[in-house]
Symmetry: C2
Subunit: 229 residues, 2 copies
DNA sequence: GCCTGGTGTATTGTATACCAAGGAATGTGA
DNA sequence: TCACATTCCTTGGTATACAATACACCAGGC
């Protein structure tokens, strides 16, 4: 049915250039492999603004936000550099992640329905048995999804937001470590135990299992992540 | 004694205008009572830049950082507003705080020396007995110091940084709530129990006590903080 | 050959001008 | 008196010009 009135303009006037650039840069940084030998860690205000065909001002504001967030480091009159976390810093990230996610697990028990919790279980049915090793890439995605689901089901926005920021750094590690040894299998077992604890509504146990699961990653990084200087 | 060598200048060339403005604004916002009826929540780029006798650009960059941090909200073409947390948001802040501090407590047990832990105890000797109620203001400071000490002794910078940001919001609540009822006394008792757990190097207990202590604040806010809309 | 200082260039920091959008004040007609 | 349109002011958004600094390179003197 044709409208008699000019139908639109719900066009977003609410997102300014700087927001778009911020999202765009963040996405770009997130999806690049920061720790590769030949990674291009240098950003150039002017080149960026020319490439995006806008002026430097909004680019600068976006970069300032990224710096506040810890993704880039701005050196006065030298340039903007993507931050590489040291091993020590990465261990801190994982530690804080553990804190956030285990608290999320407690909240899930308070707030989530049985259905929501059991939805976690269905995420893993495709990996029953030995399939995990065979489909590492898929599993890695599911793995990430699982952890983010716990955050989401906690219904605590602050928790989600903080965790999201940490996740940017976690992701690059997880991708590297999940393929090593039998970590994928071990990971699934851990996850199933966590789900069981949630289903039993045992807050202390769930929190403990979630924390230990993350801290195992920390131990692994401590031992094996030599590519972090 | 006079030096024979020219003694100095490791002078920081690293602090630009925007950094100073950022610090200055943050300090100002932190120390004002955001929740007072007549609080001036509106900021004006132009007025600020005129008052500080600089251009708008660095002011804008400072404000952008503060927005990223959640202290102010910038509404396009409307203005910049200091953020008032709602009750729900404040409860989230306290929840996340609990997560961070209880993890810090675990780390204290791993990393702090006996001396460092016992230094926590000495903070409270002046408030032995019934003195807490009589010196509410002093106690409020000690209270804050106690919690920050736990973070600091965890030797985890990320934990400290995140907690500091939350603390800005916690502070305004604590100042209001500590004077109510017998919360000061209760608070001291909690703190002493926490210290005992740390001294016994009982990580699970310490983490639990710290978390419960904070969550009690959450319950109190839930019930009594009607000034949060 | 090495040290010292100058100079040029690249890059970010800051200032300023102009724009667009929202909202309030004002005017106008019923 | 009220509803509505118009105007204007306020305010943040963007673009651009200029200033300041870091670094590389080079020339000249010892």
């Amino acid at each position: 049915m044709a409208h008699t009135k000019l139908a639109i303009k719900p066009i977003n006037t609410n997102f300014s250039l700087k927001d778009k650039i911020y999202d765009s840069l963040k996405q770009a940084i997130t999806s690049m492999n920061i720790y590769a030998e030949d990674a291009e860690l240098r950003l150039d205000e002017r080149r960026l603004s020319e490439k995006l065909e806008i002026s430097r001002t909004p680019v600068r504001e976006a970069l300032a936000r990224l710096e506040q967030e810890g993704l880039v480091h701005i050196v006065p009159r030298r340039g903007v550099y993507i931050v590489r976390k040291t091993k020590a810093e990465m261990l801190e990230v994982v530690t804080v992640w553990a804190a956030l996610e285990s608290t999320a697990a407690r909240l899930v028990i308070e707030k989530a329905t049985d259905d929501e919790i059991s939805s976690l279980r269905t995420m893993f049915i495709t990996f029953e048995g030995d399939k995990a090793k065979a489909h590492i890439d898929e599993y890695s995605e599911t793995n990430i999804e699982f952890h983010q689901s716990i955050l989401r089901l906690s219904q605590c926005n602050l928790l989600c937001d903080l965790a999201d920021n940490l996740f940017i750094h976690m992701r690059s590690i997880r991708d590297r470590t999940i393929a090593e040894q039998d970590r994928a299998d071990r990971s699934i077992i851990d996850h199933l135990h966590i789900i069981e604890a949630l289903e039993k509504r045992d807050a202390d146990l769930a929190a403990q299992l979630v924390r230990e699961h993350s801290m195992n990653l920390a131990l692994h990084i401590e031992k094996h992540a030599d590519y972090l200087e």
